[in-house]
Symmetry: C2
Subunit: 240 residues, 2 copies
């Protein structure tokens, strides 16, 4: 670009985990950006890499370590010109340290963004809707406990039902069966005492929205979208 | 990645022109990929750069030359690991030479992909629905003439109406007014004798679909999607 101009920050997106969740994130970023013309939108460098091996197997120790691959993606986005990084997958945040160690630019954790929203809500018992790997890594249980909240999880049978729905979502299913299945699982956490629900998996908002649940549902996707847009637009760089 | 594995090709996407069209392209790539799990999807490196200055002004000579910026985006995607490039904007294809000169990997032109589909259709008169810059650069008029087809364009007043609808689309409008406006403009080309219509602007399929027109409508977006998926999946690389 020539001439002196102010530009918003460029967002680097570690994506493809899963594919639909990344495209959904991007669409929500566009919708959340107050732009009337193309040029007022945010630049996003996206590594849409669905080939990252199964996160749940990696965390369980039965699959390959994906830390090096996520670190390489982060470095690639930094080299390409990203000013800060986000990752559209809660479970993969188990590798936050590996990502942060690989780059000099900030990595905005979805867990931190969600916890900032939790802090504004008085709920003591918080229902965590998340995938196996995310729970096994303890991402939200530890953060909630540190914040003086009580994390509430599904029973083993319910968790298994969630994972089955998640695989159907990833296979492209969007019908009422998947939605009502998720609604039932959300209701079960409410009946067990959850005063607030976390959609701690970026596939959940593909079918489940606020209004489908009896208590407030915090969407990790939407919270990351809002934080990303705010950060990119409020911090601008003066160019030559 | 460790171990010997076959992988599909990585697609580099010059995007953000406009933002909605790029996200629409990505969503259509996912839908067109025969995948049941994340890992069967295609890797896309996306430079979603809505800041590229106005293409129409650049082509008209009243705005900055955007060739260098598109070339830099292409080089960045090549460096990041793309095996081939596509660009989700017909008008910006006026800079195809600048992009091809900047990289060693193939750049798949949307115009070539559309013309391959035209070749399979017997139409003599082809209605071109495209934006000002695309027409001023003569991209489809020259390609159609070279293929022995007769390009049919809107009147100046109709072209102005199309551009007004395009800006409304870019501003996020998706209502029936925009759709019926585009339907009327498509019908006008049909009445004037078009036996085939080209949606030669990636914003058009955001609201106008086959079924909205009386004659066959070739969507440049969908044709690029199909070609991209086929190329990425049929050509695979053996990795160490």
């Amino acid at each position: 670009m020539s001439g002196s101009s102010k530009r918003s920050l460029t967002v680097g997106v570690l994506g493809g985990m899963g594919p639909e969740a990344t495209v959904d994130f991007m669409a929500r970023v566009l919708a959340a950006t107050p732009a009337r013309v193309d040029q007022e939108h945010i630049r996003m460098l996206v590594d849409h890499n669905p080939g990252v091996p199964d996160r749940h197997a990696a965390i369980a120790g039965t699959g390959a370590d994906i830390g090096p691959e996520l670190a390489a993606m982060a470095r690639g986005l930094e080299t390409a010109g990203a000013d800060f990084l986000v990752m559209v997958c809660n479970t993969a945040h188990a590798y936050t340290d590996a990502i942060r160690a690989a780059v000099r630019i900030p990595f905005v954790s979805i867990v931190d963004v969600v916890m900032a929203a939790v802090a504004e809500h008085p709920a003591r018992v918080v229902g965590v809707m998340a995938a196996d790997g995310c729970l096994q890594a303890g991402l939200y249980q530890q953060a909630l406990a540190a914040a003086g909240r009580e994390p509430l999880l599904w029973t083993a049978a319910e968790q298994e039902r969630f994972m089955a729905l998640l695989w159907r979502l990833k296979a492209g299913e969007r019908g009422p069966a998947v939605r009502s299945g998720l609604q039932a699982l959300a209701a079960s956490l409410e009946f067990a005492g959850a005063e607030l629900l976390l959609a701690g998996c970026t596939e959940i908002p593909l079918v489940l929205e606020q209004g489908d649940t009896g208590v407030r549902l915090l969407s990790s996707t939407d919270l990351l979208v809002r934080h990303t847009v705010a950060l990119a637009l409020t911090t601008s760089i003066q160019e030559e």
